[in-house]
Amino acid sequence: MTTTDATTEPAEAAPGAVPADGPAPAVRVSDVTKRFSSSGPAVLDGVSIDIRPGEFVCLLGASGCGKSTLLGIVAGLDRPTSGTVEVGGAPAKAGRASLMFQESALFPWLTARRNIELALKLNGVGRATRAERATELLDLVRLSSAGDKLVHELSGGMRQRVALARALAQDSPVLLMDEPFAALDAITRDLLHDELERIWRETGRTIVFITHNVREAVRLGQRVLLMSSRPGRIVREWPVVVTGERRIEAPEVAALAAEITTHLREEIRRHAH
């Protein structure tokens, strides 16, 4: 449990930041540090990220690097020890950005449709339009025939699609996803990658997607940020440029994934002593 000195890490050209002349960022994380106790080690150390509106960013790192902590802070569920987070130009607050978890976190006493309707209700959507909106959202995730099913009657993949529909019901421009497909089987995960890409294109959301799966990050993101562990920092970023249809088995995806994996392993190796 030694705190390795990470100060030797060469500063990349401010990884995470967008050029100053770009549009106002949808999410701006400025110099965020997080300690769970005042004397404890920093879980996050000076993390700064700017994310453009409509961008799909993947945040990659080994387990325990503070990815989920960072996402919780952006979602407004936790407070940073220092630094600021803005979502859509306003300070982060619970309810401002939607968040999907690794487990669906659907309310098990409600049907799929009622889960979505509750999100609409909490978002201030009037009773009259709720049912109609819920139908649209169920259609969007291709679950129009499963709306009246209870949560435990749905498969893992279906639950995550309902959770996605519920997150979209919030109508926030920013969607945060905390390893949402990690617990699914490979076949379902591949399908949901395609689904998510389609929905991202249709809805124009800004997506911040956390994963520890390098290929998944390259498959989905326009930009991949690599986080170091203990303390968590953004150490590198890669733009993902893929010509033609992007698939998880595409050679371009594989090549970039191999490069990123090398760096990820280097990061992990630093903790060996």
Partner: protein, 298 residues
């Protein structure tokens, strides 16, 4: 399963291959298990308890027939049955059941009305929890019979004594049920509620209370058991005055008259009422609740 798959895809008429793939996967991954037909389920759930009662009656009959003790100490099932039908014919058994049951239900409902808001406050307000939590847990352990002497001094031999004892028996269980239920709400669901933009009141109303419902119902069940027990204890100890004649009073009368058959009848009646309330009310509510959440195999 292949028939299900084709049915699913044709019903959805997917526009593209991705949709078809997904529909196929959905059909494969959700198993539609039929429940057994109700005669079979009934046979499975009703037959064993009935059999158990028959066995117990047989043992009773054997013990009686062996004449280990004189008849007036251990009467046989037939003698008890005679006493039961005599008490039924003159209406005193029905009256005793009705008196006790109505007291129990009124006392229990009052406990629910008092205990529920108190439980929410104890569960949600930190300093109340720290201050009163241990006392309420302690009250749950205290047999509520211990309140009978105090109640008699305060309220005399009146219905107020009985209700007070019932209230002291049931309310702590109900409060603890809510507190336990709220404690067991998965943190993930709270976070999900917060992220969806729920304020403090909305979070309690839409997330915490529904999630705590199984714990609450378990508390209610225990609360009923405690109130029924304390009611019987109160009725046995406090007899006379303006008090009506309940099952506990019947039991006490049986003792005074040294009539073992009356004592037996009263005990069985107390037991039956308890079982009936459990089977007719709490068991179905609990089962439905758990099945809906996928916490119970059907």
């Amino acid at each position: 399963m292949p028939t299900d798959l084709s049915a699913e895809t044709s019903r959805d008429t997917p526009r593209d291959t991705l949709g078809a793939l997904e529909a196929g996967l959905d059909a494969l991954q959700t198993d539609a298990r039929d429940r057994d037909p109700w005669p079979r389920r009934l046979g499975r759930s009703v037959l064993p308890p009935v059999l158990a009662v028959v066995i117990l009656l047989a043992i009773w009959q054997v013990v009686y027939a062996l004449h280990i003790k004189p008849d007036y100490v251990i009467p046989g099932p037939a003698q008890a049955w005679d006493t039961a039908s005599r008490l039924w014919d003159d209406g005193s058994l029905q009256r005793a059941v009705w008196t006790s049951l109505s007291r129990g239900v009124i006392g229990f409902v009052a406990s629910v009305i008092i205990g529920t808001p108190l439980g929410i406050v104890v569960a949600r307000v930190r300093w109340v929890r720290v201050a009163f939590g241990p006392i309420i847990s302690g009250l749950q352990v205290l047999p509520s019979v211990a309140w009978v002497p105090a109640a008699i001094i305060w309220f005399g031999l009146s219905d107020a004594t009985v209700y007070f004892v019932v209230l002291m028996g049931a309310t702590p269980s109900i409060i603890n049920g809510i507190v336990g239920g709220v404690d067991q709400v998965p943190p993930l669901l709270r976070r999900a509620g917060l992220v969806l933009g729920a304020g403090p009141v909305q979070l309690v109303r839409h997330v915490i209370l529904p999630a705590a419902l199984p714990g609450y119902v378990a508390g209610l069940k225990q609360g009923w058991a405690f109130s029924w027990r304390s009611l019987m204890a109160a009725e046995i100890i406090a007899v006379g005055g303006s008090l009506g004649f309940g099952l506990g009073s019947l039991l006490s009368q049986g003792r005074d008259l040294a009539d073992m058959t009356v004592v037996f009848v009263a005990i069985v009646a107390i037991l039956l009422v308890g079982i009936l309330i459990e089977m007719a009310f709490f068991a179905p509510v609990e089962k439905r609740l758990l099945r809906r959440r996928g916490l119970l195999q059907s």
